[in-house]
Symmetry: C2
């Protein structure tokens, strides 16, 4: 049994004294992280955990090349976009090089929240409409505006926000279109026109709903027909995670009007972006300036450039596809042998396993933590397991992950 050390109790008490009670820790027994490397996180007792949850360290925790590039740039110049500097221009060019040509204009921020907040604001400005469609388990960020667009938090939806209830398993690509059409109908009845459909291109907070490929296309067409935009929230699926390309929208055969990205962009360095169709950026730029002090800073851009280098040099998109398929096979086998695994979803290294309830999922997540594996829960009632290791995860790491899950289900969950 795990012994909570005196030091950990003391740290926990200090934390509870000075941090706001709005903070929450993972796990029944909080994990005191002191070091990490690649796919491994080490606790204060020197015990190691396979990180199968965090998508921020996308190329692996503390990747030496990213650390080196950040340190090098931080020692030379760390300034903002009101001076002319090379890095934000290089990064914007590199990002645009990964996207369809319609997406031609880049804005930098510090977080996916800042990116989504601005994307929604721009969609309302350029369309002149106010309606936004999100899913009813969506999470799009922490700002005041986005708290009204993130029903999974339990906060009330904001004015003009309409939700669609995503089925965890879609029968065909037409199902989502029908749901969105329903939201558009309700909007029309309320005298509101759509500014945007804002969705993850893999529905992470909805329980990793990947659905049939191209299921977004019809819905996007309908929203556009009524004057709205499609904002692709790539904060979770972006940077190769789906294995189908750099961006989740590639799976859907549709080019977004605005793409937002954040979490993995700097492998932990706070950097984010919104990429827009050029004509939208032109309208926005005619009406408003936008300056973000740290957004597009030379060091943040160096971090993001280093991440792009590693993804390319280590061929991580292909690796995510291949290792993701191997992981999915392994999970599929577990589904056959364990009744608590009722469904398997996702693509690449972004996978979700349905369990009967949030209680079962929490028991599995906590048992895995004790057994040395970090995963999380998401979706309706937090009943789905969210499995999302760094893209650099190896086949032997996957074997360890599958073996540990199997063990835990046998010994602790299904006894």
């Amino acid at each position: 049994m795990h012994t909570t050390s005196h030091e950990q109790d003391t740290l926990l008490a200090r934390r509870q004294r000075v941090l706001s009670p709005s903070y929450r820790l993972f796990y029944d027994e909080p994990m005191h992280a002191v070091r990490s490397e690649g796919v491994w996180v080490y606790d204060a007792d020197g015990r190691r955990y396979l990180d199968a949850y965090n998508n921020v360290p996308v190329v692996g925790h503390c990747h030496p090349y990213v650390v080196e590039q950040v340190a090098k740039q931080a020692a030379v110049l760390n300034t903002h976009t009101r001076y002319l500097t090379d890095k934000p221009v290089e990064l914007a060019e590199r990002l645009l090089g990964t996207m369809p040509p319609e997406l031609g204009s880049v804005i930098f921020m510090n977080s996916g929240s800042e990116a989504n907040d601005l994307a929604v604001r721009i969609s309302r400005l350029v369309t002149g409409n106010s309606g936004i469609i999100v899913t009813d388990c969506a999470y799009h960020g922490t700002t005041d505006l986005l708290s009204g667009l993130s029903p999974v938090t339990g906060l009330p939806t904001g004015p003009g926000v309409f939700t669609v209830s995503l089925p965890p398993k879609m029968a065909d690509a037409g199902e989502f279109r029908i749901l969105v059409r329903g939201a558009l109908d309700k909007m029309r009845e309320a005298g509101i026109r759509p500014a945007a459909l804002l969705v993850d291109t893999i529905f992470g907070s909805d329980g990793v709903v990947s659905g049939p490929v191209c299921f977004l296309k019809g819905a996007v067409d309908d929203v556009r027909r009524e004057g709205g935009l499609f904002i692709a929230d790539e904060v979770q699926p972006g940077f190769g995670r789906t294995g189908a390309g750099m961006w989740g929208f590639a799976r859907h055969g549709v080019v977004p009007d605005i793409v937002t990205m954040g979490k993995p962009m700097g492998n932990g360095y706070p950097v984010a972006s919104a990429v827009l169709r050029r004509e939208l950026a032109d309208i926005f730029g005619r009406h408003q300036r936008y300056f973000n002090t740290f957004g597009g800073s030379t060091v943040g851009c160096a971090a993001a450039l280093a991440v792009l280098d590693v993804i390319e040099n280590e061929d991580l998109v292909v690796h995510a596809a291949e290792t993701g398929a191997y992981l999915k096979d392994g999970l599929q086998n577990l589904c056959k042998r364990h009744d608590v695994f009722t469904d398997l979803r996702g693509t690449g290294l972004f996978l979700g396993v349905q369990t009967p309830s949030g209680d079962v999922a929490a028991r599995i997540v906590n048992a895995l933590r004790r057994a040395g594996v970090l995963i999380g829960a998401a979706g309706r009632g937090n009943a789905a397991l969210k499995i999302r290791p760094p893209l650099s995860v190896s086949r032997s790491d996957v074997d360890y992950l599958i073996g540990t899950i199997d063990d835990v289900l046998n010994k602790e969950i299904e006894r």
Copy 2:
């Protein structure tokens, strides 16, 4: 005359092609920054500029100790607050140690915008009221909510937002109270109750209005009497800049309900915070969770701890007071000899010089850039010069700054 190099033209053209037109560059001739150190920034031609504008590199550009601490932590562990880690606890304790004991609860973010956005949201949640008072040249950040609380941007104020028009020179401490009382009266007529008074503790975007000490106190009392909170925006004045203490509110003999901070906190690393009275944090925490992926990350906290170390070890608050007084004396002498300097305001190393118009201020700012000094303009019509060097600026740097301003006024502005 400055010769714009071919490389710079090319970089500028590339930038305009890929970055959104909402971006703006400083100066008629953009400055291509490639390196910086202490108070100096170097352009692509190897020319150096005294940075008398940027408050982000508060302990000096590329301070070796901050760079080292960031690099060290980035190589060991960069993770979030849902695991137990030392750094955010240490940082929260250190921050609270600089504040009155009523302020007892810390939340971390990435930017002053995220901090102000949450502060306003919390003020509305805990008071149950919606009214917010800001100045009519206020700037509080980039989010959708804050764009409605930042009239200096030219964007319309948001619902429930009331503005007061700050006189650049306040006759006595009672003047601001009368203005705020007027806003509270208008609010009452509109059937709205106050959630918060949100102001800089030195009014930066209003043209560096420092006013008589304690001028906020009466206004804060009145707002509190009607159920509202006082949010001190310390994003610009915080971290010793006023020379009167770590925080600008110290000059006003009042303890805020929420303190927000950002820009200088990590000397360029994106890190920010909201510090709350414990009872407010308790109410917020009972109603809502708040998770910010990068906020309170181990590396961001290491950067902020390093900045606090340097401020302490180099005695920068006292230095800001002393060197600030020396700089103010120098500017006072210039005011006597140059008619275009019509007023001098500010305290510590946060100073504002009034000029007759935005056109004159822009001419001075551009002439100084050509002469090797970086400053900015702010306030109504951008007619005030904003002078805000890193706190590590020396007396000989100040002599260079004053000498260069004198020269530029003699040779280029008042010929």
